[in-house]
Subunit: 440 residues, 2 copies
Amino acid sequence: MKPYTEMTREELAEEIKTLRAEYTRYQNMGLELNMMRGKPCKEQLDLSMGMMDALSSTADLTCEDGTDCRNYGVLGGIREARVLIGDMMENNPDDILIFGNSSLNVMFDTVSRAYTHGIMGNTPWCRLDKVRWLCPVPGYDRHFKITEYFGIEMIPVPTSETGPDMDMIERLVSEDPAIKGIWCVPKYSNPTGYSYSDETVRRFARLKPAAPDFRIFWDNAYGMHHLYDDKQDYLIEILAECKRAGNPDLVYKFASTSKITFPGSGIAAMATSPNNMEDIKSTLRYQTIGHDKVNQLRHVRFFKDIHGMTEHMRKHANILRPKFEAVEQILEENLGGLNIGSWTKPRGGYFISFDTMTGCAKEVVARCKKAGVQMTAAGATWPYGKDPYDTNIRIAPSYPPIDDLKKATKLFTLCVRLVSAEHLYAQSEKSAEKAEASAE
Amino acid sequence: MKPYTEMTREELAEEIKTLRAEYTRYQNMGLELNMMRGKPCKEQLDLSMGMMDALSSTADLTCEDGTDCRNYGVLGGIREARVLIGDMMENNPDDILIFGNSSLNVMFDTVSRAYTHGIMGNTPWCRLDKVRWLCPVPGYDRHFKITEYFGIEMIPVPTSETGPDMDMIERLVSEDPAIKGIWCVPKYSNPTGYSYSDETVRRFARLKPAAPDFRIFWDNAYGMHHLYDDKQDYLIEILAECKRAGNPDLVYKFASTSKITFPGSGIAAMATSPNNMEDIKSTLRYQTIGHDKVNQLRHVRFFKDIHGMTEHMRKHANILRPKFEAVEQILEENLGGLNIGSWTKPRGGYFISFDTMTGCAKEVVARCKKAGVQMTAAGATWPYGKDPYDTNIRIAPSYPPIDDLKKATKLFTLCVRLVSAEHLYAQSEKSAEKAEASAE
């Protein structure tokens, strides 16, 4: 088919007519599908049911070092869990702190701690007139909500396939001491699915922030989440790179097993420098006596080691890969060459990022909803939920069964076509009016 | 034996000689015993091993309402857990919020939230010049550490067998809008083991605080922790009483299963009014997607209902009761009638509170330590760790095996006698010197 951008008004009118009929057909199907959130599907959850047998009533819940996991204590997490999660995060077990069930909660608490008490002796952020934050866009809405909640001014930073605009980041953090942090999802990023290039990571590790309490919030949520065995992204390990660059305290690195075992019942962790860890523990000991060690042990006994976890992730990939490929195929078939949208082709993670023509994303999502398919709200991938170009939509292929997913994606492409055609038609109408007006 | 307070100098000297010889004998035994913390013992932990089989790999982890516990979501906790914990806390399931593994963490976060964002639209405490807090003494050190961490000025309030001094509390909270809260352990209190009287609870519910954001932090940690079947303390339910008194938003009530199943792997909860709950959820949704629902379900399937939990608590009582009775018997045998110490005789909870003569507690704890028995630091039961009278010592009988416990308690009574005798001898020496000086 001809690119929509090259169609005449009459051709567009004809196309709109066809698309509207098709849309009505979808509406009459009574769909109720959800592509909103990066939730694992039932088959993925089934993969971890063995965890429920990893500890039985006759099991010995004692750690290698003699700690009884059933009782109070061990603030930073049991040794064998720090070893497993260390291997998962590519960090030394001594640099790992194990928390509760949610890395988001750890990030929230980390911002909250800086807000109430400051980082490593610096002024608490609640005592400052202004705190600013860098937000690579498109990004993760729940990150942005945390900084918004603490009244932190968010500055969007554009990203490309290699990561965020490092020229802009280097300039801003070195000039402005009010900039205290940046949200990063460096691998199989939310929502683009792309990973930071080696140069990007190297430049992050070499930042020279004006603020001594500037920290990179490095949310490596998808470190193990490859879709392919042969085509995998590798990331330079940021803590080690920071150490080599003489910037050891620059990073808080987060991860969890939420999308490895059970979301909400996994274990979350932070990897960071000894100085940062000391600083965090000095608060943590007032906040809790310790996190859930039985669940830590359950994870260790279930996976045994990082090889066990890697094999487990292949099973996730086997479920997710066909879904990603189905979405990409439908996008290509229905939108390829029409010049009305572009999308990412990630090798891992949970999302595909879609860009409509300027000013069409909200309307596309609204049309999907009216026909029974829930998408992430347009704008969600930007700070304050406001995409100034109204183009970005996050597609989450993981949750629906594949047949539903195909239906939903077809409807999505239909909505993109319809809204784009209407948009172009309206534009051409305006030009025509202008032309008439100037002819009169 | 004669009360020490009635002994002559010569009798005291003789007694000290005997006690020192006995103390040396203990030192040579090489004891390594711990009565510091309220930790359940191994036999108590064994009671909950059935929990490990409550969910198996073939179990259906779906809630009654169809929620898959293995996936994201359900901010306030699954319905059946709110029913069980509601029965445990004597509250409506709709007034229950289930959190993670630690009620201490919930209390910390509750103070932190008030500090950063304020309670129900009131000024965040970090923007106030002064925040004050009432601390019934003796009390729980970890409570005091939270308020100390947030720079809140703590005011000690004396307690008796019926609870804290309500005259003082009523006067202070109605006069001073800087007073924002009070720590309460209303039932089998930490460390006295006594429960608030009906009058005390009634007066709490009728407080008229000058500060609209004053809250009672009602830590009902030991609600189910009776030592006896027949002699149990009953407490007026505070939320209901506040509602009847027209003060529905006055209380945050906390509890957990830490000392019911596994400390660190239980579930924590808050019960509070709809207004407070709305206020809390408005933060909580930025902090987490949800807490560990699988563990919530595990608890529900293990206990089935509140009767199951009650029967389970009888097993705990059967282990703890002999320990409490052994301690009390040794205290009575070795210190009864000597006029050098007094102690509580609780019907539940985890502690016995001991008061030495003024100025002796630190030295008693130090002597115990030198002979291999760790006690909670003297002073810990007061804000800032400073007991102005140096009298209070918390005894935690739960953790050591009973033979060790008996040994440790005997040593403790020996130390009380030795330190008291030395103290009285020193006093009489001073009086003698004075008498001599005035005779010259």
